[in-house]
Symmetry: C2
Amino acid sequence: MQTLSLQAVAQPIVDTRPKGILDQTLAQASLRRVEAKEFVFVEGDPTTHVFRVETGAIALYKVLADGRRQIVGFAYPGDLIGLGAEGEHVMNAQAIKPTRLRCLPMATLYRSAAADPALGFKLYEALARELAATRDLMLTTGQRSATERVVSFLLAFSRRSERIGQDPCDFELPMTRADIGDFLGLTIETVSRVISQLRRDGLIALESGHRVRLVDVPTLARIADGAGRSAE
Amino acid sequence: MQTLSLQAVAQPIVDTRPKGILDQTLAQASLRRVEAKEFVFVEGDPTTHVFRVETGAIALYKVLADGRRQIVGFAYPGDLIGLGAEGEHVMNAQAIKPTRLRCLPMATLYRSAAADPALGFKLYEALARELAATRDLMLTTGQRSATERVVSFLLAFSRRSERIGQDPCDFELPMTRADIGDFLGLTIETVSRVISQLRRDGLIALESGHRVRLVDVPTLARIADGAGRSAE
DNA sequence: CGGAACATTGACCCATGTCAAGTGTCGTGG
DNA sequence: CCACGACACTTGACATGGGTCAATGTTCCG
């Protein structure tokens, strides 16, 4: 899942790197700050804008009538949110830490896309990446055990950490155990137990509940893909 | 899901039945037949074509190293498959009954899309619909009980049946119990047990394992959304 | 008609949910 | 600076939904 954020890596010496039209447009877009737990939009809101996360993190989730919650994704800096919904949003977007967003009016975006097929293609790609990520998550929640899910989650976060040029084996999880549980289809307690067990087994280490260090990545990788099963 | 397909509305007066450019292109595309259980493409295949299902049904799925399988969607007549993958496919597409497909070379599609933003938008919309469907499924597999999952599945199928102008309360499921299980994240046995129970409760009726009649839709709808839970 | 694939049903058991208690940890106000 | 309350997290005991294994029934096609 290499992201659209090529521009984040290739920063200008003299602005050699021609920025895409999307970046150009976004650079001028208004900035919005949201505090932790504040909503960017909720289900039913008219889809007036698309947002790009600049800093912070956002949880995207749906809820059932009785309050059960499924987080379908987290958005980190560089990610676009609000794409693909027509008319009104079908989910909630809530900040999990203080966050800054660029706000791009849908109308502007569509006008630009009609004029420039390359922009349209960018949006298409962004959506395709989201779809791929969502399907991977489905494979995880639908088929894996609790331990496999948590480990897959940690490894995915590790890969992301690496992708943005940070230590892939030592990172800060911005979300709570409840968020992880609602993402993986597990309860808080199960997430907590699995993490404790991984620590006891010496596969990960924690200093402060949210700072994770991956100690034995090969073993973790094996666990994620079902080591110790029938047809492994 | 009313669409942005303004271009579909604003069509010329002559040529009464305005077919979109996508339909025009597909009408000329080559036809391919696949038998039940035959693959349209598998993980790793180069993404040379996009397909539209004409008749039959296709299962789209991913597999884990040890063989566990997650069906991420079924494609029925009218649906596009193979969109959103770059370079190579990341999943398998297998017919669950004899199926006919229109095959559209990716290159042709992209060339057309570059020329006509309206087509690009169609593809974008198709992808957005898939994303929405996948997320709904995630909510189901991640948060619902076995009974809720099966009932949700039946109701979704019922809605589709209605959408294509057929009886929403009496339909033929093209897929096996194994397919349903791998779609919902349940075992064959559980699917079978739940269906038997629903029948015993008089909520559905079956003549031949695959022909389903929904008897008490209101109750089914209540079950799907968690009737009999804490905060219902 | 026969066999293979698919489906149902039952008995048992385990992974994970539920309920409950207890332990940090952080931010606020005294 | 400390005390307090609110949360988040951990841990334990127990319950249970759904998985596993196994036997049997059914359907469909050659």
